[in-house]
């Protein structure tokens, strides 16, 4: 360790995790499959895709939700991963959590079936959605409103776990899950609470959202075979694969966690963030915001770049992201880049969007804990312009002490987290 000071002085402990992805339910099951190099990407069966260029995704089709809507699936997954993390941490054995809830969730919008049903029941009276002179809602239609307020998921989850304060629902696009963790870290560091429940969830694969991302030319169109479509850092990468998933982390003040005899799974040592001002969907070619995000996290942890052993990359598999992430890593780590291992979970589980930062933080905690690096699968044609050890195709047994997890979003926000082994 070359950094100045004690990196654990401001550390926040992780005492419980939960995870759902297209690979399955539960952090242990996901870890088993991630380290086996399995893919959760399949043909979409949820809606017709014949006319679409992208027909694959990492759908979570095993939750007990019917019909599948964005709010219902996002809620079911968030509840399941929060339950798993809280139970594993043992924090709520004596009642409520002394901590706020921070949940990264997709914006709630009516899907088309819901919209048609709703407009059959109530009528706005004017505008594009009007059918007649206006029919107001009643007690009977009130649930339509409640379910489609952005705050309702957090409200229910905070009540479920007895969280303190006003629960916060947030979105920073593809950095959202990491932002939720960062808010929890800040709250505990301020001494306001001894804990935080940080969740990311995203169940937003429907035809409209798939089309939206396809319009940005962001999605892979290599539909066959589906499990080979996500190819981060490969020369022939052609976009990310949309996916669903959720993850939760119980964060705690380390002293308090130790005092109650909790098992500490790992630590968050530092957070960095920066907003890009260049373009709505592209990074500044100089990589400035990505660099500030990574360097900021390492500095916040009291470490030097040379201390980092492993990067859980944003690694979406779009031509643009992987190039920029490589540029940023090269700038921050210099020649130290050669001794880094850098892998992308998205090669296996796709891009879980709002949830990705939380999902990948949990995978990073497991890598630190188990001494195993999850691979970047589908790495058959290395991009000669990206000289990284991407842990190709098979997991690697390697003891690591400090890891960086990157999350970069459309719309500018970039977040990096430094995590450490429990030691």
């Amino acid at each position: 360790m070359t950094g100045s000071g004690n990196p654990y002085a401001r550390a926040v402990a992780i005492t419980g995790v939960g995870m759902i992805t297209s690979l399955g339910r539960g952090a242990a099951e996901n870890w088993r499959r991630l380290t086996a190099g399995e893919s959760g990407i399949r043909r979409i069966g949820r809606f017709p895709t014949e006319d679409l260029r992208t027909r694959i995704a990492g759908c979570v089709d095993f939750m007990d939700v019917e019909p599948v809507t964005i709010p219902a699936l996002s809620r079911a997954m968030a509840e399941a991963v929060a339950d798993e993390a809280v139970a594993a941490s043992g924090i709520a054995a004596d009642g409520a959590i002394d901590g706020d809830l921070f949940i990264a969730a997709p914006p709630i919008e009516h899907d088309w079936d819901s919209r048609f049903d709703l407009l059959d029941a109530v009528d706005p009276g004017s505008g594009p959605y009007a059918r007649g002179d206006g029919v107001s809602g009643t007690e009977a239609t009130l649930p339509w409103h409640n379910e489609f307020t952005n705050g309702s998921l957090a409200d229910g989850l905070a009540a479920r776990h007895g969280c303190t304060g006003s629960p916060i629902t947030l979105t920073t696009a593809c950095a959202s899950g990491a932002s939720a963790i960062q808010l929890g870290v800040e709250s505990i560091r301020r001494g306001e609470r001894t804990a935080a429940l940080c969740v990311g969830t995203d169940g937003s694969i429907n035809s409209e959202s798939l089309i939206r991302f396809a319009l940005l030319s962001a999605l892979s169109t290599k539909n066959d075979p589906p499990e080979q479509a996500a190819k981060p850092f490969s020369r022939n990468r052609d976009g990310f694969v949309m996916a669903e998933g959720a993850a939760a982390l119980v964060l705690e003040d380390p002293d308090r966690a130790k005092a109650r005899g909790a098992t500490i799974l790992g630590y968050i040592l530092g957070c960095g963030e920066a907003a890009d001002t260049f373009h709505r969907t592209r990074s500044n070619p100089d990589g400035g915001a990505i660099i500030r995000s990574m360097a900021g996290a390492i500095a916040d942890a009291g470490l030097e770049p040379a201390d980092i052993d492993y990067i859980n990359a944003h690694g979406t598999g779009t031509p643009e992201n992987d190039k920029m992430e490589y540029l940023g890593i090269s700038e921050v780590f210099g020649t130290g880049r050669d001794r880094l291992a850098v892998s992308s979970n998205k090669s296996m589980i796709g891009h879980t969007l709002t949830a990705a930062g939380a999902v990948e933080a949990v995978a990073t905690v497991q890598a630190l804990r188990e001494g195993v690096l999850p691979p970047t699968i589908n790495y058959r044609e290395p991009d000669p312009n990206i000289e990284l050890d991407v842990v190709p195709n098979e997991a690697r047994v390697q003891k690591i002490e400090f890891a960086l997890s990157n999350s970069f979003g459309f719309g500018g926000q970039n977040v990096s987290l430094v995590l450490a082994a429990a030691g």
């Binding site: 809606f47 017709p48 409640n146 916060i168 696009a173 319009l215 907003a275 709505r280």
Partner: protein, 402 residues
């Protein structure tokens, strides 16, 4: 830990009452002006408060930037520009790179024309899915749908003004605006950042929002009515873009920025609306703020939405204020500008700041209502309430500086 003082060094508000403190003040003292901004036709049968003509290009000069936003994001971007101007941050690259942004946003803004086509042309349920998918694949335009991503609200502000410290977007109706302010306040007080741009916007004319609120039976219809005497279906939306620049006292002093007011505290909590009592939560918040009794030198700007004005949450807040703020000049701001949901709390904190700067409060907005006492003397403090229409209870205390 020693807490740092949190100062308001800039604010920008685009509202139905205009965009300058002078215009707001004149309108707030003249019910006829406020009333004239109510449009009963645009979204009939539901009246709304609307923003009149304004020159977006004055803040957002590039046409491409303007096209990438719907009206909600445009209101917000404009207000953010006003706030940065007042704080003297516009064009200050080094400072903007250290400026952290937290915004509250509703959902994004849909392509209404495409939605209209789909609603009018859709075949029966069996054939609908495939047909709609084909319509969207042909009809959605990348620029327009980017406006559907709520985080692009902040993203656009970053791009237009080069605010690049960070960009976080909170969602969740009224509470999202209050929580944006609370988190910025806490981080500043604890030294987790020196300058924050906090804001929100709401477009009262957006029909996709009205669908949802109408389903809840929440919207005032068939004519305007005074806030405190509305039926339970009592929300009358109002458009707004509201942004504040918050800064530590040290940061403001170091760069010679004028301090408009001190943001003493921000509280926001969640009360179980079924079993709990929002008034009890609000009393605890008052105690925590250690603000003492309200009294006549404390203006109370209520964010009551109008929902449940007869027997529900607005009625409960009125009862709370009649008791806890007896004798203080209470003002139900939604009467003048409508309910701006995510932007309501921040708008009211800005109006509170103006009261502090002027050392007075404007005339009662609903003179018939017993809860709104006349202002008697100088005002040194302003309390802002933000009880959400279905959840969230927030309170902020703004004080004169020095």
């Amino acid at each position: 830990m020693t807490e740092r003082e949190v100062c308001i060094t800039g604010y920008g508000l685009l509202s139905p009452l205009g965009e300058t403190p002078g215009a707001w003040w004149a309108a707030l003292n003249d019910p006829a002006v406020c009333r004239a901004r109510v449009d009963e036709i645009a979204t009939a049968p539901f009246p709304i408060h609307t923003i009149g003509d304004y020159d977006l290009a004055a803040q957002v000069p590039r046409p491409g930037d303007r096209r990438a936003m719907g009206p909600m994001m445009q209101y917000g971007a404009y207000a953010a520009g006003l706030a940065l101007d007042m704080a003297g941050l516009k064009g200050e690259t080094d400072l903007l790179q250290r400026t952290h942004m937290i915004v509250a946003s509703g959902g994004g803004e849909r392509d209404l024309e495409l939605d209209r086509q789909i609603l009018e042309g859709a075949p029966g349920r069996d054939a609908r899915d495939a047909w709609i998918t084909a319509q969207m694949a042909d009809g959605l335009r990348p620029t327009l749908f980017l406006a559907q991503l709520p985080n692009l609200f902040a993203g656009n502000i970053s791009i237009v003004y080069k605010v690049s410290g960070s960009s976080r977007t909170f969602m969740g109706e009224e509470a999202a605006g209050a929580d944006a302010l609370r988190i910025a306040h806490r981080r500043l007080a604890a030294g987790q950042g020196d300058i924050f741009l906090v804001g929100a916007a709401f477009a009262s004319e957006r029909p996709e929002i009205q669908i949802s609120y109408n389903a809840g039976g929440l919207l005032l219809r068939d004519g305007f009515a005074d806030l405190w005497s509305r039926p339970d279906a009592g929300i009358c939306f109002g458009a707004a873009g509201a942004f504040l620049v918050l800064e530590s006292r040290e940061s403001a002093a170091a760069r010679g920025a004028a301090v408009r007011a001190v943001l003493r505290s921000v509280e926001s909590d969640r009360t179980d609306r079924g079993a709990g009592d929002p008034a009890q939560t609000a009393r605890r918040q008052l105690e925590k703020m250690n603000a003492g009794p309200a009294g006549s030198e404390t203006a109370v700007l209520s964010g009551a939405s109008g929902a449940g004005a007869s027997t529900g949450i607005t009625a409960a807040e009125r009862a709370f204020l009649e008791d806890a703020a007896a004798g203080a000049p209470v003002r139900g701001i939604a009467q003048a500008v409508g309910h701006a949901v995510e932007a309501a709390f921040l708008q009211n904190v800005i109006l509170a700041t103006v009261c502090i700067e002027r050392g007075e409060v404007f005339a009662p907005l609903s003179p018939e209502a017993a809860v709104e006492a006349a202002g008697a003397g100088p005002v040194r403090r302003a309390l802002v309430t933000g009880w959400g229409h279905v959840r969230g209870e927030a309170m902020a205390l703004v004080e004169a500086t020095g």
